[in-house]
Symmetry: C2
Subunit: 116 residues, 2 copies
């Protein structure tokens, strides 16, 4: 989906449905189609799934550089962040092996700060 590529962060199936439906009250797109396309995208390696919260898998293009996310506590939207932190290795206990990591920031996004 091109809609995902232009997003400012990963989107869930529900968010995607809302976005694709907006401005088109007549042509209804089905949630099943969304899930089908997302699943296909993941299988073909074009998309990756990210789980930032319980019960809400989001998807983003697979070709993005290494990055992390910001989750707005107000509007629940997820945003991409640039860069990474440097001293992750220090957290790892002896005997453990790290294969990947996630950093997730919570707070208010720009829009929500302005709004309230």
């Amino acid at each position: 989906m091109a809609a995902l590529a232009s997003a400012q962060g990963p989107m869930s199936a529900t968010e995607l449905l809302a976005k694709l439906s907006e401005g088109k009250p007549d042509s209804a797109i089905g949630i099943a189609t969304i899930y089908r396309s997302l699943k296909l995208g993941v299988e073909e390696g074009r998309l990756v799934a990210v789980e930032l919260e319980s019960g809400a898998v989001r998807y983003e293009p697979a070709d993005l550089e290494h990055h992390h996310h910001f989750l707005c506590v107000e509007c629940s939207r997820a945003f991409d962040l640039k860069g990474c932190v440097s001293d992750l290795e220090d957290l790892l206990p002896a005997g453990f092996e790290m294969t990947s990591h996630e950093v997730l920031l919570h707070g208010k996004c720009q829009d929500c700060r302005r709004a309230g």
Copy 2:
């Protein structure tokens, strides 16, 4: 629950049930009781819920120092990590406000590395 206090990381209701049941094939403890106790613990401020994965809320004592978690890709157990990373602020985009953060490492825990 004292079982949570002695754990090496946050546990889910299911894990807790397994742990409390082990070695006692006769006295069956109910999953409902687990959920009741956990909910009560959170309401009373003795426990906090942490969501590391989709569909699996875990609980840990509320009086722990600031820390993060390691999630084993093999056995799915979560472990507490000590310390934190230093340069989180650098990730935050202008106009955004951070109220909290999470760091989650994935990989193999000590036990699973030994095992396989």
